[in-house]
Symmetry: C2
Subunit: 212 residues, 2 copies
């Protein structure tokens, strides 16, 4: 009987090998052959799944995003808790907003792996329009999601300063950019993860009506 | 008579070659030999100036910072203008703050070159403590400079929201992080330089007393 191969699992194993290299030393100068060696498969087998480094990187990046997404959903579910009747409560939009932004920061091993794969993606994407598509689609979608949360906070009277409609979308994009910049400076050792989280939380506190 | 070599100029020529490669395709997988070829000198001569890719990258990064610094100083001088007696006026701290932050964004060819060298630096620095020193020294110094400008605006009654002393330092660090994140998304084509500048200016407007 021929052995049944789970192609998706194999693809993920290869992406995991790429991650390990990305974390250990970055992907600068890393070849498909290096990744095949790390995944302990032949180059030919690897190329059956990924023809180019960029294809592999894009898969790894999507995989990172999916895991980050899952992690953030779990954190939000944990906040929401479970109601008396076993029904999950709806978490407050402010808390969801905070978890999404905090979830962007490399604060533990898992999220640091994600951030380092993100660095490898970024490095190549600045020179590759096709790779940029991922960010060009993903970031505006994230901004729209956060803007919707801000609108909910706003409509509940939770925002201190006045905001026009477009301002909320702008604020969402600034918060994403802030989290991105704070992450960069964690990875460069300029500040710790705790310090970055403190700076983010202080910013959110300044925005809410019951903040300082 | 032996030919006199201007070593600093030669070093800069090599850094310029590195820049050209960084802009054209990034430094992923680029060797000292590649840079020597681009600079049209032998590998041996290049190694007389830079023994490793990281040494060269660090020099290129410092050179980028120095040029950005000069560019920002020129912009500030242009704002200050020259007084009636030929004496330069002191530019308002808000305007200086804005120019420094706007100067971080890749808005034209020169600043885009700087940003792309910055990406190459970042990519390697996340895996190299020695390279991180540059950011670990530079970013807090920049934050202190911006915090001082914020303090001047604050003391002149120009800040809308209340700020405690430490808050100004935090705000400075957040503004730097914001500018860094906005730059990332320019380089990824998520938004244009104009849009990033608009988001930055809107943030500053929200901070000033005579803003919205």
């Amino acid at each position: 009987m021929p052995k049944k191969v789970d192609h998706e699992a194999r693809r993920q194993e290869i992406a995991d090998a790429l991650w390990r290299i990305a974390v250990a030393r970055g992907l600068d100068g890393v070849s498909l052959r290096d990744v095949a060696a790390e995944a302990d498969i032949s180059l030919g087998r690897l190329q059956h799944y990924f023809r180019t480094k960029d294809e592999m990187l894009l898969f790894a990046m999507r995989s990172v995003s999916a895991r980050a997404d899952k992690r953030i959903r779990e954190r939000i579910a944990a906040i929401a808790g479970v109601g008396a009747e076993g029904v999950a409560a709806v978490p407050p939009p402010r808390a969801v907003l905070r978890e999404v932004l905090a979830g962007m920061l490399p604060l533990d091993e898992r999220s640091t792996v994600g951030a380092l794969v993100g660095v490898a993606y970024f490095t190549r994407a600045v020179h590759d329009e096709r790779l940029q598509e991922e960010a060009r689609q993903g970031i505006p979608a994230l901004a729209a999601f956060l803007a919707d949360l801000l609108r909910q906070v706003h409509d509940g009277g939770g925002l201190r300063a006045p905001y026009a409609e477009g301002d909320l979308r702008d604020e969402a994009m600034r918060l994403i950019s802030l989290a991105d910049g704070l992450s960069t400076y964690i990875l460069l050792g300029v500040h710790s993860g705790e310090e970055a989280l403190r700076l983010l939380d202080a910013q959110l506190e300044r925005m809410w009506t019951d903040g300082r």
